[in-house]
Each structure stands twice: as structure tokens, then as C-alpha cells.
């Protein structure tokens, strides 16, 4: 593909590495825009052209600008004659590909020789200290999370329990025609109450400690779930590691060296009370999270379950089972989203919890499967809690 400045390919390469899927089509569009006289004035014009064609959000705009700042040479073609007055004739257009635009780049104007460096001795504090914190246009400062807002929205909007409820206001065309066909008498239209999503979601979010590296990511996740999922109610409760303990069940475990707790599983009592917080800083206690949960609520637990530190704690395991049992007793469907990658689960508490509770990694596919479970699809776990 001739007609495009050579550095554009390095630029595309760099943007693709950053996850911006620029394809052949996009390059072809850039080429035809350049051929029509757009973006030829200066490197800033070309940058603005690429932003207009390729970016779809402010974050991507910044990404493209950053790639330009580190990749693009100083570029200015002779400004083409204003394209408004002279739309390119077919011959001209046909010639454009054969006449690559870099040829039109004039040699850089010879800049005046730089002034000789002057050294000035600092004798005392006479002026302002040298300024720091200059903004580097080559840096991308917009956050880029492993899951995009759209992926999160698509997964969670599947959590639906539509119920027709309220005053009838929607026209049912099929039923109206059907009624007329049956009775043969002129009659009014059939109206239905509109559909409403009655699904409720309870999010239990582990916070601080080993979850610290995932704070920004889980905040992004919660924000997007709140934005996108049109649910009847979303409740978020934060806890640290465990909301409450249930260690008495471990008193006479048959084999103290085996991590499995199948023998005492039935003896673990559902957790009552528990310590939850309303804010991510864990300062405002939230009472009656478990007791006041209505049946049918989907409960999602977001926690690394000890996989980040890579340890196994029998107490954490039983206490977690107690929490899950409390949720199941309240009539909730329970799924676990683990932000730590599955390769880190074996040998830790997470692997053991996953034997009893459906646990999924916090990826697009994992969220899909978690929402399936929350919708009520039975999921095989080795020993359901």
C-alpha cells in the first residue's frame, strides 16, 4: 500500500500492541483521507486526522497522541491546494498511489545554528527552582483495565429476571389481532404492563490485604456493573479477608494434614452477622447484610481467596464455607469471581473453596459463566457446600 507515510506502519504496529485493533481498512481510509488533502499541514494535523479516524474514546485519543509523540518524525508536506476548490480529478486520484506522499515532504528547513551554551554559576538561591513535573505527551495516563466497560456490561446485563409489572402501557399487537380474529368484533387494543428486571444483586467484595493490587480493577468493575446492569437493586458490601469465623468445626478433623474438609463439611454452620462495610475504606460498618437478603438475590463474591499470597489456611476455608452457607440458606445463588489467575489457585485456599463453590477467574468468559450460575443454572462442584 503506497501513498501512506512509512512511519505510519510503525505507529499502527505500536497501537495494535496496545490493543487498538487497527486493520487494513483503517489504513486504507487514512490513505484516502490523505489523498483528499486532509492532515497534510503538519504532524499535528496528521495526528488529529488519525485520532478522528481511529479513536473511539478520549482514552484512545490519548493513546494515539502518545504513540505519535514517540513514533512520528516531524512531518509536513507542502499544503495541498485547498481541496474545496479543486476536488481531485479521476486522473489525479489514480496517480496518487503511484506518487507516494513522502516524496512531497520538502527537506527540513535549515534551522539557525543553536546558540552557544552558556554556563552560569549559581551563587545563591536567586531564582525559581527548576520546574519538575513536565507533562510528557508520550505517556498514556488513561487507565486501561483488563476488562473493557463493554465486556462487563455485556456479561452482567444477562442477569435478568423480567417480570411484567405495573399499569398496562405496552401494545400487544399479536394479542390484539388474535382477539379480533377470534371474536370478529371491533375491539380496543390489548395492552400489557411493561417488562421490568427484578433481578437483585449482592456483591461481596474483599478489600485490602492481598486484594490491594486489584483495588483499581474491582472499582472499575463495580462502577461498570452499576452503570450497565439495569437491575432492581444492587447492594455492595465490603469485607476484609473474611466477614466472620467458623473455626470450631475444625476441632476434630480426621487428618490434620489433608486440606480437604469433606468430613466436617456438614458440621459447618451458616455464618450469622459477619462484619461488612459500606465503603471501600472499610470504615462504615454495614449491619444485617446476610439476614436481610431477600430470597432469589444473586450473590457474587469478589475475592482472591488467598490465591495471591499462595497459602492454605484451613480456618479461612471453613469460615468461607460458613459465609456461603449463610447466603445459600437465605435463598441466594452464589458465584465467586477470583481476580487472581487460575494458575495460582492450586495448593491454596482458593483451590479448596472452588471444590465447594463455583469459582471463576475475573475474565470476560469467567464473568459469563458466573452470571450463568447467578441466573440459576446448576453448576457442578466437587462437593457443593
Amino acid at each position: 500500500m503506497t501513498g501512506t507515510p512509512a512511519f505510519v506502519y510503525d505507529l499502527v504496529e505500536r497501537l495494535r500492541r496496545r490493543g487498538l485493533p487497527i486493520g487494513v481498512d483503517d489504513c486504507a481510509t487514512l490513505r484516502s483521507a490523505l489523498g483528499a488533502g486532509f492532515g497534510l499541514g503538519s504532524s499535528n494535523d496528521l495526528r488529529d486526522l488519525c485520532v478522528a479516524l481511529w479513536a473511539t474514546s478520549v482514552a484512545e485519543q490519548e493513546m494515539i497522541a502518545a504513540a505519535f509523540a514517540s513514533e512520528a518524525p516531524d512531518w509536513h508536506a507542502a499544503p495541498a491546494a485547498p481541496a474545496a476548490e479543486t476536488p481531485p480529478t479521476p486522473e489525479e486520484e489514480a496517480r496518487t498511489p503511484a506518487d507516494p506522499i513522502p516524496a512531497a515532504v520538502p527537506p527540513l528547513p535549515s534551522s539557525p545554528p543553536p546558540p552557544p551554551p552558556s554556563v552560569r554559576a549559581y551563587t545563591a538561591v536567586t531564582g525559581q527552582p527548576p520546574a519538575t513535573g513536565e507533562w510528557d505527551p508520550a505517556l498514556v495516563l488513561a487507565p486501561q483495565h483488563p476488562l473493557t466497560a463493554r465486556e462487563i456490561a455485556q456479561a452482567w446485563r444477562r442477569l435478568r429476571r423480567p417480570v411484567r409489572h405495573g399499569p398496562p402501557s405496552e401494545l400487544d399487537v399479536g394479542a390484539t389481532i388474535d382477539r379480533y380474529a377470534r371474536s370478529g368484533v371491533a375491539s380496543g387494543p390489548v395492552l400489557l404492563p411493561p417488562r421490568r428486571n427484578t433481578a437483585r444483586l449482592l456483591l461481596l467484595v474483599d478489600r485490602q490485604g492481598s486484594m490491594t493490587p486489584y483495588h483499581a480493577f474491582t472499582d472499575h468493575l463495580l462502577r461498570e456493573i452499576r452503570n450497565a446492569a439495569r437491575l432492581e437493586a444492587i447492594r455492595v458490601a465490603y469485607f476484609r479477608n473474611l466477614p466472620g469465623r467458623a473455626e470450631d468445626a475444625l476441632a476434630d478433623r480426621p487428618d490434620p494434614f489433608s486440606p480437604e474438609i469433606d468430613a466436617v463439611l456438614s458440621r459447618i454452620r451458616p455464618l450469622t452477622g459477619g462484619r461488612f462495610y459500606a465503603d471501600p475504606a472499610l470504615t462504615e460498618p454495614l449491619t444485617a447484610v446476610l439476614d436481610r437478603t431477600s430470597p432469589g438475590t444473586a450473590a457474587a463474591i469478589i475475592s482472591d481467596a488467598g490465591a495471591t499470597r499462595g497459602t492454605f489456611q484451613a480456618g479461612r476455608l471453613t469460615s468461607t464455607i460458613a459465609l456461603v452457607k449463610a447466603l445459600l440458606t437465605a435463598g441466594c445463588t452464589v458465584a465467586w469471581l477470583n481476580p487472581a489467575p487460575p494458575e495460582r489457585w492450586p495448593g491454596t485456599t482458593a483451590a479448596q473453596i472452588a471444590r465447594h463453590v463455583p469459582m471463576f477467574p475475573l475474565t470476560a468468559e469467567g464473568m459469563y459463566r458466573a452470571v450463568d450460575v447467578l441466573r440459576g443454572r446448576p453448576r457442578d462442584t466437587e462437593r457443593p457446600a
Binding site: 488533502g37 473511539t56 485519543q61
Partner: protein, 315 residues
Amino acid sequence: MQTRHHVDTSTWYDAFAEQPPSRRIEDPRADITPSPPLRTLGPEPYRATEGLQSAVNLAIGLGRPLLLQGDPGVGKTRLAHAVAYALGLPLEIAPIKSTSRGRDLLYTYDAVRRLHDAQLRRRAHDEDVRRYIRLGPLGRVIARAEQGRRSVLLIDEIDKADLDFPNDLLHELDSLAFTIDELPDGEHRVPADRPDLRPIIVVTNNEEKALPGAFLRRCIFHYIEFPGSRADLDEILTMHGVARPELRAAVIDMIGRLRELDLAKKPGVSELLDWAGFLQAVDTPPDQVATLPYPEALLKQRGDQQRAVDRLARP
């Protein structure tokens, strides 16, 4: 598909040209006929930046929708009005609601009215289905192009609709053609060899929902910033009839101070114009502007009002 990729720069939007005081433009409310009625419109005062002007021209030249983002009240919607007036084209508006469906933009079919007419045996010989079909904004724009006239289409606040709404329109926006299923010969399309008839489509987005990537990739993207310099703000105020220079200077000082504060919702251009217009109408002396009279027009949250008053009380 060829029309979309054929670059056509015969239409050029010049944001800085002097606009005539009034124009006779085709009435977008009338039916699509070969000789439509005209109506007289006044100019839309709008100050575009160079970047915005070239984004508009790029969108026109490549025949792609122009996707505008920016803070509320920064002038995303008004741009479509300004472009339509400057080019002398009719403007079709598609305001999007949470219940909007992709097909509504093309046409609606009134099944119940047809059923009623059939029940009442009205006009037994008049079996014309066309009477129950009403074209939507995008449908009208395409039908008008068939008649050889161009239009501007504004799809306002596309993020209000369901998540899949933009995807339902991909094919129609790509091929600029659609079929009315209820009619035997219900096909409408923009002539493939006439890129100068492609509608100019402006889409505004408030980023309440993430739009699908496939749709976004087809758009020309532009982010409208709050005007950066005093001269820009001054010109915008002049354009909107704030005639007294001292009042303009005082108002611009105030908005600059307010936008430096840490507010939940910073006042935008639209709030500024409301406020300055009212100050001018009630003849506020410029030296009183520093006390922030009528803050209700600028700051729409109680916390923001409190914070601004507290901050302005300190020197």
C-alpha cells in the same frame, strides 16, 4: 459500499464564513416530495474550532458518521444545526430514548390503525399499506437522497438507547439503504454513484454507556473541549447577543474562577450562555458579577453552590 469509500470533497463546511441573516431551507416536517415546501430559518450562532471544522469535513468527505463527545452543554447538538444552516440543508433529528429501537429510525408501521380500519370496513377499496407506514428520520434522509437532495441527520444522545441499538443500524448506515418489509416494493437507497447525496450524519454521545466497537470504528471521532481562551469565550458570548464588553469580561472572569474549583459538575458553555443572557436582560452592573448573582443558572448541585459561595467569599 462503494459510495462510502469514495472520497468526495465537493461539499465543504466553512465554520468561519459569514452566514446570511436568513435562509430558505427545505422544511423537514413536510412529506418527501419532488418539490417540497421551503421555510425560512435564522442562522445558528456557533463557534467551531479548526479541529472541529476539519473533523466535519472529513466526515462529509468520507461519508462516515461524525461522533461527537464532550461535557454536557458544550455544543454537540448545536453543531448539527450550524452545519445544516451553513450548507443550506434540511436537518432531520432523531432524539434517542431508552425505548428506541433501530427500526424506529427507519420507519414505523401502525399495525393497530390498519387493523381498526379493516375492522370498520373503512375504505374497503383503498388497500394502500403506505398510509400506515411513517418514515423515521434516517428513512426520510435516505428517501430524500433518492429524490436527489441531501440532508443532515442528527442522532442525538445515542447512548440513551439499549446496548445493541447502534449494532442494529450498522447495515443501514453502511449501505445507506433499507427495505420496508410490509411493502412489496419498499426498498429505498441512496444512489450508489452519487457520493454528493450521502447524508451528513452527526451522532452525539454522552458516554453513559459504552458503544459497540463495530459501530465506533465506522465513525469519525471528535472530542469537543470547553473553549480554552478568553477570546473564544468572548466571541461566543458576542455571537449569542451579550453585547456589553464589560459584562462579558466580568462573566468570563467568573466562569474561569468557577472552573478552577473542584466542583461535581463544572458549568459548561450552555449554562454560561443562559446565565450571561439573563444578567444582560436584567441589566446587572458588571461589578456585581463578582458576587455570583443567580448561581442557580450555573451550578446545578447544592454542594457545588455552597462550595462556590464559600470560595468566593474568601479573597
